[in-house]
Amino acid sequence: MCMLSLLVFAQVVMRYVFQSPMSWSDEIAVYCMVGLVYFGAAFAVRERAHIRVLAAYWLLPKAAATAVAVFSDVLWFAFNAIMVWEGALLVASFREQPFYSAALEINLLWPSLAIPVGYSLICLRMIQSYMSWRRTGDSPFEARND
């Protein structure tokens, strides 16, 4: 993850060091950025950094609050699952009708893989946080204290 963000910066910084505005560096930077965002999203599940409105969770009594929050996670999970599927369809469509990028002539299949892979990782992280909730009682809805 850190590697990815490093790469983004390295790329753009490199351009200045060498003073050559090459179109391929922009393109690689864009791919890094797409990767950074989707891997970052999975990382953010672990760190509980996703932006959600937890007013209902704070206001309701404990049992109801947990029920509502779990329901919201079920919706979230379902959405991720659909995105994995649709993302896979998108990748498949690039396989059938290749679409090549301007500078590097890469099939867009590869960078767009970030979507199904990223959303799968988000799903995995969610399952992980629920498992640790069962094991250690560390609720995924409370902010982490670290």
């Binding site: 993850m1 850190c2 990815l4 963000s5 490093l6 983004v8 910066f9 753009v12 910084v13 351009r15 200045y16 922009d26 930077a29 864009v30 791919y31 950025m33 797409v34 950074l36 965002v37 989707y38 891997f39 970052g40 999203a41 999975a42 990382f43 953010a44 760190e47 950094a49 996703h50 932006i51 959600r52 409105v53 937890l54 007013a55 209902a56 969770y57 704070w58 509502v68 929050a69 329901f71 919201s72 919706l75 979230w76 959405f79 991720n80 659909i82 995105m83 649709e86 993302g87 369809l89 998108l90 469509s93 867009l108 960078p111 767009s112 970030a114 979507i115 809805f141």
Partner: protein
């Protein structure tokens, strides 16, 4: 019930029960696509295409640069310079904090990051001078919000992308309202401090000391010159400027100040990854939502709700302000911008409002959102740093909110305040 109302109910319903905002937008958009008989694959498509553009890279880069500057000693230098400029008045430390926020805002694109950077340095000093913690926290929270108004600004990058408006011009439009807001905040600090008799124990203004601290902090002072000068001098685009800012922050904090340790560096990377994953991801579903809004003609429908008022720019801006201030209590600012901009933009265009003016108004009202509970990023930062409760800071921040509302009113009534500088720039280019 009309379909677009159902889409909105699902949107606010899912957000309300705690689905993370990017995914809530995605769920509502999916439903809308089913209604409109559009394949959901286009949601996956925009999840990729929305992120694969160069301007958006400015956001993680500015976040990273801000995180580095906060940890690498640039923030400290700026506070010291602000101290040497202010001198001995009632509430001088509070005024120092606001001035430091204005300086740091010219380096950082984010409101909460500005509050965190300046707050970490000035709040302990305020506590020593026996400022009530809530008052100090309120100063930091409201001063930090300037981070989004004074260029560079992440909120403006998002607005510029969603509204396809020139980002450098938006940046320029934020300068005068930003300075105005800063002055009003300082005035508010002064009045409150004077009435309650908070200390003026700072040293007197001396040219020598001013020059000494400015010299010591020259690298920190030079940063905005390089970043903003580069953008307006035409040397680089906002994205490239952000990359330069990262580079600059690394060099100054590692080589010159030697305050950036490896663990601080990793911490900055971690913050950047988290913010990218939690916030930038929102652009995908949000762009799809914008397409859906156009497809279902939602802006037209909202316009017809407004009836005859839709042609009056002030009425439209008033509606924009009210909607954003209310939703700002519950939503993150960037979420607000990318969700509401596609809805408001056509309305504003119809009423003859310049998209740049609309951008400044939207950013200003989002800043008010930073400062209103229960969800207010700057309040959270301030309460953590000042060690006070959310309730106490929220009350203490009220007088500062008035200052922001005054700026909103000024820009709405006299759009020239915002447009003057970008127009000047445009004139000089041609």
């Amino acid at each position: 019930m009309p379909q677009w109302v159902v889409v909105f109910l699902v949107l606010f319903g899912t957000i309300g029960i705690g689905v993370p905002i990017p995914m809530a937008i995605g769920i509502a958009t999916m439903l809308g696509f089913v209604f409109a008989d559009v394949s959901i694959i286009s949601l996956a498509q925009s999840s990729y295409t929305a992120l694969s553009n160069v301007p958006i890279m400015a956001v993680p880069l500015f976040v990273f640069a801000g995180a580095l500057m906060e940890r690498g000693g640039l923030a400290d230098r700026l506070v010291r310079i602000a101290q040497s400029l202010v001198g001995n008045y009632s509430g001088s430390l509070g005024i120092v904090a606001v001035v430091a926020c204005m300086f740091f805002a010219a380096l950082s694109g984010s409101g909460p990051a500005t509050a965190a950077a300046v707050g970490a340095v000035t709040l302990p000093a305020m506590a020593r001078e026996r400022y009530p913690a809530a008052f100090g926290g309120a100063i930091i929270a409201s001063g930090g919000a300037l981070g989004s108004l004074i260029p560079p600004s992440n909120l403006m990058v998002f607005y510029g992308i969603v509204a396809s408006t020139s980002i450098p011009q938006l940046f320029a439009a934020g300068v005068v309202p930003g300075i105005l807001a800063g002055c009003l905040l300082m005035a508010t600090v002064w009045v409150i401090a004077r009435r309650r008799g908070y200390g003026g124990t700072a040293e007197r203004v001396s040219i020598g000391r001013m020059a000494a601290t400015a010299w010591e902090g020259k690298w920190a002072l030079l940063a905005p010159v390089v970043i903003l000068g580069g953008i307006y001098g035409g040397a680089f685009t906002p994205t490239e400027a952000a990359a330069v800012a990262v580079f600059y922050a690394l060099v100054t904090s590692v080589v010159i100040y030697r305050e950036l340790t490896w663990s601080r560096f990793v911490e900055s990377l971690r913050i950047t990854a988290l913010i990218s994953g939690a916030i930038v991801i929102m652009l995908g579903p949000a762009i799809a939502f914008g397409q859906l809004a156009a497809l279902l003609q939602i802006p037209e429908k909202i316009g017809s709700l407004l009836g005859g008022l839709a042609g009056d720019p002030l009425a439209v801006l008033l509606v924009v302000t009210i909607v954003l201030v209310i939703t700002g209590c519950f939503m993150e600012s960037i979420a607000q911008i990318i969700l509401f901009t596609p809805l408001f933009l056509p309305l504003a265009a119809k009423a003859g409002i310049d998209p740049i003016t609309l951008g400044v108004i939207i950013v200003l009202t989002c800043e008010i959102g930073f400062l209103t509970p229960p969800v207010g990023a700057n309040l959270f930062v301030a309460m953590r740093l000042a060690r006070v409760g959310l309730g106490a800071v929220s009350i203490a921040v009220l007088p500062f909110l008035v200052a922001y509302f005054v700026v909103v009113a000024v820009v709405a009534l006299f759009p020239q305040v915002a447009l003057w500088l970008p127009h000047l720039m445009r004139a000089s280019v041609h």
